[in-house]
């Protein structure tokens, strides 16, 4: 169910946005508009639908309009045209009073350079949203303390932001945003100012907090790796227009245009994609317990090997040779379950980098099981190498994304 509907948002910066909007609606492009009227087309007809409880990443390079877009969600910036509907309320129509109430209750925000108040202690910063709401000091401090503990800053309550490292400051920013219990969390390049190690720690922390809290998070970043790591869905923004919206595998495996394609080329796919994206149906499932019947069935189907399944449970790997060998044994009483080899298996949510060694070492496609032990599919080393090979450039002079700012 969509919690936030962004409907045809256009934002034009300049002295007379309304008349510039008319030109844009007649089809004038960004560069032309700037050259002829001096207006900048910040966002052009952006529509998004964000579901409750997902981490929705908006990704783009500097100048793509992503920071402008996120500021429309709580109307730090007003659109020139379009609507944003949050849980049935069109927030563009709110008056100042209702907008204040909306910001105090429904959405909170984390900023790139933290936006902490330097003259307030960690405790006072975390309690800021509650203070604005008029909550009394004691109650406010209790709430704040809970979130300070949740982000792992216990013991720093009475320090000032300048006494903390960048990562710790951003935890204060995160705690401040979480403390208001708003269901929507806006994060504007929240981790971009942090060094890589701290950044990945913060990403982990966000993912684990999200597993508990189940907020709706709109996350802005210029870093595709970050987007793929934390995003349930990703929107790619270029020059104020949407290029593509999709899940990480969709973005990686079916890039919508050359821009996205150029972007994803350098991504370490093995780290992003999971086994379930590349697995195939097993060529042959053995469900027959009797060895002789199983062998004749395999011969009839021309299957050199198969995957033994009893009911729903995966029991092991079986080759014709192994079945034959078991049948050749004198007074053999073995069933197919005894013959089945207990080879290594993969979990369907394993990342490819984890699955890679097993897959390459195996002689046959490796079985993939789910958490209940059911056989979901198989992964072959060919399938693995196909997906890990970056796509060929379709066109020699295609536009390359600028190196990340």
């Amino acid at each position: 169910m969509a919690l936030i509907e962004v409907e045809h948002i256009t934002k034009i910066f300049g002295p007379d946005p309304k008349s510039a909007l008319a030109l844009v609606k007649q089809g004038m492009g960004k560069d032309e508009l700037l050259a002829e009227t001096g207006h900048t087309l910040g966002l052009h007809d952006v529509s998004l639908s964000i579901k409750k409880g997902e981490i929705f990443v908006i990704m783009g390079l500097s100048g793509s309009g992503k920071s402008t877009l996120i500021r429309h969600f709580n109307r730090l910036i007003d659109p020139t045209d379009g609507h944003i509907v949050v849980d049935g309320t069109d927030i563009i129509g709110l008056n100042m009073h209702d907008l204040g109430e909306f910001r105090r209750r429904r959405m909170s925000m984390v900023f790139q350079r933290f936006g902490l108040m330097p003259h307030r202690t960690v405790m006072e910063n975390v309690g800021y949203g509650l203070e604005v709401r008029g909550m009394k000091r004691r109650e406010r401090d209790e709430h704040a303390q809970r979130w300070i503990d949740a982000v792992g800053l216990s013991g720093f309550e009475h320090q000032y932001p300048s006494q903390l490292s960048g990562g710790m400051q951003q935890r204060v920013g995160l705690a401040r945003a979480l403390a208001t219990d708003a269901e929507v969390l806006l994060m504007d390049e929240a981790f971009s100012a942090l060094d890589p190690l701290i950044r990945s720690q913060m990403q982990d922390q966000l993912i684990s907090l999200q597993a508990e809290l189940n907020k709706t998070i709109v996350f802005i970043t210029h870093d595709l790796d970050e987007a793929l790591r934390i995003g349930d869905r990703i929107a790619i923004l270029k020059d104020g227009r949407l290029s593509q919206v999709g899940t990480p595998p969709e973005i990686l495996l079916q890039p919508a245009d050359d821009y996205v394609r150029a972007f994803v080329r350098d991504v370490n796919r093995a780290r992003v994609l999971t086994v379930d994206v590349i697995m195939n149906a097993p060529q042959y499932r053995i469900t027959e317990e009797n060895l002789e019947r199983a062998l004749s069935d395999m011969r009839r189907r021309g299957a050199e090997y198969g995957y033994a399944v009893e009911g729903d449970a995966y029991r092991g790997f079986v080759t014709q040779d192994a079945v034959q060998a078991a049948l050749d044994e004198p007074n053999g009483t073995k069933t197919i379950w005894d013959v089945a080899e207990d080879l290594p298996v993969l979990k369907e949510d394993d990342r490819l980098e984890v699955a890679l060694p097993t897959t390459l070492a195996a002689e046959y496609p490796v079985a993939v099981v789910d958490n209940e032990g059911r056989l979901r599919g198989v992964v072959s080393s060919d399938g693995m190498s196909d997906v890990l090979t970056p796509p060929e450039e379709e066109d020699g002079d295609e536009e390359k994304p600028v190196e990340r700012a």
């Binding site: 925000m109 108040m117 949203g129």
Partner: protein, 293 residues
């Protein structure tokens, strides 16, 4: 061509002069009571303060300065030096006059703060206000005091009240400018964060902008105090008593020595109030330094 004709018969100056005189006369005739009421109210506050300062034993004032200096700076040596400086004014034989000057200065600075900080806030909030305010501030700082002292004396009578008015006009602009600057320099992301959490304008001003602009505002108050002290001699010319009068008398009697003694007292007062207000300003931004301490 005749020069007088080229300058439009030199009538513009004449017109301004006539209109101004008529306007002042109009004010005196029609609103004399109103101005007298303002004058009386100011005078009541000032006289009470002045009498309090003069009636108190000198050592209590000196001790008070010491406590104030220590509270502001937490430095014992500085506090003792401030007390010694105040005592030295007494040894110059100018204690009474110094107290009169301090009373005028405190009232003037008080009015300057009440007027200046809100104007600074308004000026920071809108560029239009700033555009209108700026030339007026330039005017206030550059126009010779006597120009407005003549009508002021007519409206409020000679003495302390026009002296305060002159001091306020001359000393408020730096406070307005520095308040404006201080608020404009507050980190925009912090202000944005405050907006994003739904703070009202007043909450934003009180909780974020004023506290973060405080070092700058304190600098403004410091400048205002210094400029108020610089006005004491002019104030004494329209009948305000105090150390300014000592300097003025030295001038009138061709007594260089007396002029110097009065001058030293003014400088000492300036140093004392400068150090104390600077220290308050520094403590207002103590949070900036904790990381390095």
């Amino acid at each position: 061509m005749n020069q007088e004709a080229f300058f439009l018969g030199e009538n513009v100056g004449r017109a301004i002069r006539g209109a101004t005189n008529d306007f002042v006369t109009f004010l005196v005739v029609n609103y004399g009571n109103f101005f007298e009421a303002i004058s009386d109210a100011l005078l009541t506050v000032l006289v009470a303060l002045e009498q309090g300062l003069r009636a108190a034993p000198a050592w209590t004032i000196i001790l008070l300065i010491g406590i104030l200096a220590y509270a502001a700076s937490r430095r014992i040596v500085l506090s003792l030096a401030m007390m010694l400086a105040m005592w030295f004014i007494g040894t110059l034989g100018l204690w009474e006059q110094a107290m009169q000057t301090v009373a005028i200065m405190l009232v003037s600075v008080g009015i300057a703060i009440v007027v200046g900080v809100p104007l600074g806030v308004l000026s920071a909030r809108s560029n239009t206000t700033r555009t209108i305010l700026n030339p007026i501030l330039d005017l206030m700082q550059t126009i010779p005091s006597f120009v407005y002292l003549i009508p002021a004396a007519m409206l409020f009578g000679l003495g302390k009240v026009p002296a305060i008015l002159a001091t306020v006009i001359y000393a408020t602009p730096p406070l307005i400018r520095l308040t404006d600057l201080g608020i404009r320099l507050v980190d925009s992301e912090v202000v944005e964060a405050s907006r994003a959490f739904g703070a009202t304008r007043w909450q934003m001003l009180k909780g974020v902008q004023i506290p973060l602009a405080l070092p700058s505002i304190m600098q403004g108050i410091n400048q205002t105090t210094m400029m108020a002290l610089a006005m004491v001699v002019i104030a004494s010319m329209i009948g305000a008593r105090g150390v300014g009068e000592t300097v003025l008398l030295g001038l009138q009697r061709n007594d260089s020595g007396q002029g110097l003694v009065g001058g030293i007292a003014i400088v000492i007062l300036a140093v004392v109030f400068d150090r104390i207000s600077q220290s308050i300003g520094q403590r207002a931004q103590a949070y900036r330094n904790v990381a390095n301490s």
